[in-house]
């Protein structure tokens, strides 16, 4: 289990290349990457605030829960904080398992919990000002799937 909370960018391609590379019991890898989206070319930046200490604690708890529920060979979470520009990669998760169903379910689960149970908050800056991103009911509802 590898969990990193960092200000610095990460290299998604390199992380994917290295994940599970030295294991022979892995048949399936699933990765997810979240990106700062700017559909209408109005976003200037996204500021991500977090709760140092609790963040790491929450991510470990979520990852441990995933490892208890599914048969995983490995699990990676990287989440950035600070100021990000449109197109920048915010975070990624990766799961490795013998079989694809475990890898898929665990990655999906990690994302649902990261979304609503890890102490991050996003603020979007555009030409019209700044606004905190509101949590969606759909994200809270998604937790009921598990």
């Amino acid at each position: 289990m590898d969990i990193r909370v960092q200000d610095a960018p990460f290299d998604y391609g390199q992380e994917c290349a290295g994940f599970g590379a030295d294991r022979s019991d892995i048949g399936a890898i699933v990765t997810f990457c979240g990106i700062v989206r700017d559909e209408h070319s109005t976003l200037q930046a996204m500021q991500i605030e977090h709760y140092p200490g609790m963040t790491e604690r929450a991510l470990h708890k979520i990852a441990s829960e995933a490892q208890a529920r599914w048969s995983l060979s490995d699990c990676l979470i990287i989440h950035r904080f600070g100021r990000l520009k449109p197109g920048e990669k915010i975070m990624m998760v990766a799961t490795a398992a013998r079989h694809r169903a475990d890898a898929f379910a665990a990655a999906d689960f990690l994302m649902d919990y990261l979304k609503s149970r890890a102490p991050f908050w996003k603020k979007e800056f555009s030409g019209e000002g700044a606004e905190w991103v509101a949590a969606k009911d759909a994200d809270e509802d998604a937790l009921k799937r598990w």
Partner: protein, 83 residues
């Protein structure tokens, strides 16, 4: 009892500071919120709608009726938006 209180996101912006240390006799989070609300308008504003807030006790999510006995750090913030 002495508590470190932390604020995040728009709660931090409304209160005007990221953390403070308070002395309190509150026995639950709800009682602590009542004390804070009574202090100044900026607190009343930040805590006007508890359904829009979340609380963590010593870095674990908790309910507003949770007891404060033994707690060192209380954090208030809006629903999280990770990922």
């Amino acid at each position: 009892m002495t508590l470190d209180i932390l604020y995040f996101a728009w709660v931090r912006e409304r209160i005007g500071e990221p953390r403070e240390t308070v002395s309190t006799d509150a026995t639950t989070v709800a009682e602590l919120v009542d004390e804070l609300r009574a202090r100044e308008d900026r607190y009343a504003l930040a805590f006007s709608d508890l359904s829009a807030l979340r609380v963590a006790l010593d870095q674990d999510l908790a309910d507003f009726d949770a007891p404060l006995a033994g707690v060192r750090e209380v954090a208030f913030f809006p629903p999280m938006t990770g990922g």
